[in-house]
């Protein structure tokens, strides 16, 4: 085996695999500009940008799901930030019996398939006779968003030297001052990254939501409806592009914020 480079079949296989991962998303963009609205004819018979206008002006059915999705993502992110940070702070340094099981508990909602979280919440709502509302959606989303914030903040706490907190207290700062001047600045970017990932995760979630939304439609549920009963197919692509943007931008930003840690942590994941 040559050490300077890979053999061409390996290069080809790796490249083909990556192309397989990325090319389908390119098609989403292409079809947003097609003139054909009834089928997915390839190549598109003509190109137009009018669907962007249509989506904005002539499709009032898009707006309520969009608003609901943003609202849910915002609340879920907020709850996740609070609970995820508290849990990470509590478990980062403390040592007690059962700590491992506790951290597993926080990871569980994302480790089990969404359908189980979904049907579990649905079962609970039924038993408690809880009517579907924005809050039933938030409840589910916050539960699996906590782990995202938890993981990010925990990783940061682990990388922050424990003596930093001691140094602050040694220099006269009490617990709250230490939090404000030393801990918070250290974890700020991890909080931001975790919050943005949580937002993206919530904004995009569909499986759990199908169980907790009842008749309400978030944007992904609206999209699901369009996929099953299409009308003006290119409009769905326009919305899909919007969803890609809303989820990608925070993810890239979050990656940028935590990338130093990735290099330090190496293959620790």
């Amino acid at each position: 085996m040559r050490s300077e480079g890979a053999a061409w079949p390996l290069r080809f296989a790796a490249a083909a695999g990556l192309a397989f991962l990325h090319l389908p998303l390119a098609l989403i963009f292409l079809y947003a500009f097609t003139t054909e609205e009834k089928s997915f004819q390839f190549p598109p018979p003509g190109y137009t940008a009018r669907w962007f206008g249509t989506a904005w002006f002539d499709r009032p059915d898009i707006w309520p799901p969009l608003v609901l999705s943003l609202k849910v993502a915002l609340f879920a992110t907020l709850l996740a930030l609070i609970f995820g940070t508290l849990a990470a702070a509590a478990l980062a340094r403390a040592r007690f019996f059962g700590k491992e099981s506790l951290s597993l508990l926080f990871i569980l909602p994302i480790a089990l398939p969404g359908i189980i979280t979904g049907i579990a919440l649905r079962s609970a709502f039924d038993i408690m006779n809880l009517p579907f509302s924005t809050w039933t959606i938030v409840l589910g989303h916050a539960t699996f968003c906590i782990v995202v914030v938890y993981n990010n903040v925990l990783a940061r706490f682990r990388r922050t030297s424990a003596s930093m907190i001691e140094a602050s207290m040694d220099l006269g700062a009490d617990g709250f001052q230490t939090f404000r001047y030393v801990v918070l600045p250290q974890i700020a970017s991890a909080l931001l990254a975790g919050g943005m990932l949580a937002f993206a995760l919530s904004f995009d979630e569909v499986i759990v939501t199908t169980f907790t939304a009842g008749q309400q439609a978030t944007l992904p549920i609206w999209m699901l409806g369009e996929l099953l009963r299409p009308r003006q197919r290119p409009v769905t692509n326009v919305v899909a592009i919007f969803v890609i943007a809303v989820t990608f931008i925070p993810i890239i930003f979050a990656y940028y914020l935590t990338r130093d840690g990735e290099h330090i942590a190496g293959g620790g994941k």
Partner: protein
């Protein structure tokens, strides 16, 4: 005079582990005090007890006559230089140094002046605007020192502060620290596992092992008069001889310590000088070490090492020799084990 730090029968247990076990200790004001011992001997825990990061399980601690247990670190006028320096990476060097003053509520202009003065004291004028990440290890160490000293602590705690520096830099910093301590008159408590460092810098040294202080005294005291095998071995190296050996050669009939450099080696036929003990033995090995040559001698079931100035050795493996020692270089010890 009120001691700067006073431990009265202090213990610190972590579960079943006794990190500090019944330690009683007084550190005088203005003293440069070194805590010396292997890792896990309890010296760092003692330092952390003074700083307030740990609280004693049993016993009583006073700092300048005031009860310290129960007091969090931020209520003690004691500052620490950490082993990893623990500089705040999100602040500039100047902000790091001024941190304690900022917490105390000092006006920005005042604390900037004081921080600059503290940086000058550690020879880092003009480094205030840099980030800790832009500094070398030695420079970071100085910033950590300035950050602690700017608060004018009554006691400065140093946790292996020179451990991460290379040899040249370490020797230079040893001198500077010593000079700084003289100049400021602050009580320094210095934790190290390097016996050379402890002996050369400290006014007084406490030797720790297994959570206890085995011996405390001046560097000459602990080196010349070790009271236990552990101290004799850890501070320098020594020949620990059983009571039988001592008794057989006109000694006190207890465990004794005999430093290798206190032993001279003569030809078997030579007469020992007056006032010296002597014995015959077989040279088992010789080790040339530059400034000295170490000669390992077997003598009647005992084995000891003599260190003689290099170039003066005429002996080889297998020679029968007479080795002699001055009677007052024998140190009777309380503990042989």
């Amino acid at each position: 005079m009120t001691p700067a730090v006073s431990f009265q029968r202090v213990s610190r247990h972590f579960g079943s582990m006794r990190a500090v076990d019944d330690v009683t200790l007084d550190i005088a004001p203005g003293e440069f005090f070194a805590m010396l011992g292997p890792s896990g001997s309890g010296k760092t825990t003692c330092l952390r007890l003074i700083a307030g990061f740990e609280q004693p399980t049993y016993g009583h601690i006073e700092i300048f006559g005031e009860t310290a247990e129960g007091l969090p670190p931020y209520r003690r006028n004691v500052n620490t230089v950490f082993q990893d320096y623990a500089l705040f990476p999100h602040m500039t060097v100047g902000e790091n140094v001024a941190y304690g003053l900022m917490i105390k509520g000092m006006a920005r202009a005042d604390r900037e002046v004081k921080a600059a003065a503290a940086l000058a004291m550690v020879k880092l004028e003009g480094f205030g605007d840099r980030r800790p990440s832009q500094l070398s290890g030695g420079q970071r160490q100085r910033v950590a020192l300035a950050r602690a000293l700017v608060n004018e602590p009554k006691v400065l705690l140093l946790d292996e502060p020179l451990g991460a520096l290379d040899l040249k830099l370490r020797e230079q910093m040893q001198e500077e620290l010593k000079a700084l301590q003289k100049q400021l008159g602050i009580t320094f408590v210095f934790v190290t596992h390097d016996q050379g460092e402890a002996l050369s810098m400290a006014d007084r040294v406490a030797i720790f092992n297994a959570g206890r202080i085995l011996q405390a005294g001046s560097p000459t005291d602990v080196y010349e008069r070790p009271q236990s095998r552990f101290v004799a071995d850890f501070v320098g190296s020594s020949n620990i001889m059983a009571p039988e050996f001592s008794a057989a050669h006109g000694g006190p009939g207890v465990w004794i310590s005999l430093r290798p450099e206190k032993i001279s080696v003569l030809k078997a036929s030579d007469k020992p000088p007056v006032g010296h003990g002597s014995a015959e033995g077989l040279v088992a090995a010789t080790h040339y070490q530059g400034s000295v040559t170490r000669i390992v001698i077997n003598s009647g079931g005992a084995r000891l090492t003599a260190a003689i100035p290099a170039g003066t050795s005429r002996f080889h493996e297998g020679d029968i020799v007479r080795f002699v020692w001055s009677k007052d270089s024998i140190v009777a010890m309380e503990h042989g084990e």
